[in-house]
Symmetry: C2
Subunit: 361 residues, 2 copies
């Protein structure tokens, strides 16, 4: 238990509610256990060795990251089963090879040209073939069954490659609103991956491992038919976007930004906080046709209540300033130096921007 | 002269072209000198002690920053005339007081409530009253002449306050496109500030100092009637947004991101680079109704030519991935691991996101 001393918060700071974050970690672990899939949490959300320990306490052994730099960071912190969940970059061959020497390293590829890079490794790796089921960012189109079958065999033929699998990130779930739409994307994506997996035939003794995952489907869906593993990341903190999608409740949001008020304009129902694009990031959700970069939460003595202050949100950001719209009468009651506690639109980018946080609770 | 070794660029890295950046620094200094205003460059753009030295070599003594943290950073690096160009945050009183002990420190206020904070300082400061001439972020409305006159006198009455002035940031110039629109905002803003300054009467022996500045007007306007000082920042690097506004030429852009290609899709005229929201930031300009986060530039042996690759730009970003649209036929010629050199939409946020850079030239 560490307590939160508001007097120590002088400028914009990330607050992490340890109890909510640990509850989120445990809940997802229990969910994975109950649906008989492995959980490989994506650590790009927090990028913190300290928060990594909370996952380890909940039983996590295997993690995903989205860069070689992050893999090095967590390898140094003692993690030994790491997936670099971004297509293999040939320029990072030697760093990857060093990582593969003392960790169970999983790489992702999505093109035949990557085989040449894999063939130059001197340490063993597992390899996931990234597939695309409608998101349209990276991955081989699931419909290219014969191409993927051939690539699977060529990959397994490399002496460096121990196991292979299919990797899906259904990032299109971020466009969904509510369980019905999340379920639709979930079912469509998994059904494509299952059809592909049924088509692929591997040599005796090899099994095709299936890893899927994005926070909306992993949070809301009751089963993951065909999958061996899920890889959500954002759920440790959640954020305004996840609440907007319907992937979490307000009370699940475990990360906020505490920002001091530096200007106030009761006449335009607005205050300005020290807290800008370099703190929040410029990710936003749409609210009433305007961007919303963060939602003001109800403060408590020790953090925040699990509910928003209706009508109080960040509607404009410059580098260090945040413009906060307020319901009528609220800005008048504010003083310069008062803190607002604001749930950001996208906690992963907020954490990446600030890299430091105050944990409490 | 330091040379750029492309082989050393393995992941997304900021490249700073020293020659272009120093040319930008010198040109703005010469412009200020020729128009008889002081130049106080805003260091929030680069936040780098090393790049700060390039300004010192060009004669810079006085700087602006946008946080107390940045002020501390540059104070430690030997800068002794620092303006914290964001409204005074009462919570940072003790840090500000320490800074004021050994630097000529200028603070900004824009409300009577800030006087109480100023009165608790034990070291002398200069104070700027921030005014608003249409941008609508922070600052007292220029039309509130009597209120501002009264605040000026109350501020000067404080024993801690040595000099006062008016501070304007006409951030609405970022909405302008081309010299005519920049000139319109410039003239409207300066005229409001001059009217206000003419109205304000200070006790004998005091002069009202006028500081204005934003990169578009400072880059393009030939004179700053009524102003004593200009405070542009972005001009050291410029970026896609400034080029879009018409504040610089392509060849003035001194900062790019080198990003390796990690996936390619000739069939959709697209490649994906390692280079995402945590590198570019999510600031963008509009291009053909879609967001454009960065423009691919023509590479040379030592950096990039001062012209874009037409039709090649970043149109989508997730945390670590950037989706790059390409003209027909180009994606086919690309290899995994090839580097693209991309001018970001907003160099200040790119620098704040990555904090490290490779300088060459």
């Amino acid at each position: 238990m560490s307590t939160l001393n508001w007097q120590h918060i002088t400028g914009p700071r990330i607050l992490v509610d340890t109890q909510r974050a640990k509850r989120n970690i445990q809940r997802m672990q229990a969910h994975a256990d109950s649906t008989s899939v492995s959980l490989r949490p994506h650590f790009k959300t927090h990028q913190s060795v300290d928060i990594g320990r909370w996952f380890r306490e909940a039983g996590t052994q295997a993690i995903a990251v989205s860069s070689v730099t992050m893999a090095q960071q967590f390898e140094k912190a003692g993690w030994r089963d790491i997936m670099i969940a971004i297509p293999l970059n040939p320029r990072e061959l030697s760093a990857i090879n060093r990582l593969a020497a003392d960790t169970r390293l999983t790489l992702c590829i999505e093109h035949e040209d990557a085989l040449n890079t894999l063939s130059r490794l001197s340490n063993p790796v597992d390899v996931m073939l990234e597939v695309d089921a409608g998101y349209g960012r990276t991955g081989l189109d699931c419909a290219q069954q014969e191409r993927i079958q051939a690539l699977a065999l060529s990959t397994l033929n490399l002496p460096q490659v121990k196991n292979i699998g299919l990797l899906l990130h259904a990032g299109n779930s971020y466009q969904a609103r509510g369980d019905d739409e999340i379920a639709q994307i979930h079912q469509q994506s998994l059904s494509q991956v299952r059809q592909l997996a049924d088509f692929i035939s591997l040599p005796d003794g090899h099994q095709l491992f299936i890893s899927v995952g994005d926070t909306p489907t992993c949070s809301r869906m009751k089963s993951f038919p065909g999958a061996d593993e899920i890889r959500p990341g954002n759920y440790v903190f959640y954020d305004l976007m996840q609440q907007h999608i319907g992937a979490c409740e307000w009370d699940d949001i475990a990360l906020t930004l505490a920002c001091p008020i530096i200007a106030r304009y009761p006449e335009r129902n607005e205050v300005v906080v020290h807290g800008g694009a370099v703190h929040f990031s410029k990710d936003y959700i749409q609210r009433d046709g305007a961007p919303c970069y963060g939602q003001v939460m109800k403060m408590t003595d020790q953090g925040w209540a699990g509910e928003p202050v209706e009508g109080a949100f960040v509607h404009g950001l410059s580098q260090e300033h945040g413009k906060v719209r307020m319901p009528a009468g609220m800005a008048e009651q504010m003083q310069l130096g008062d803190l607002l506690v604001i749930a950001p639109a996208h906690s992963c980018l907020t954490m990446a921007a600030m890299r430091e946080f105050v944990a409490f609770g």
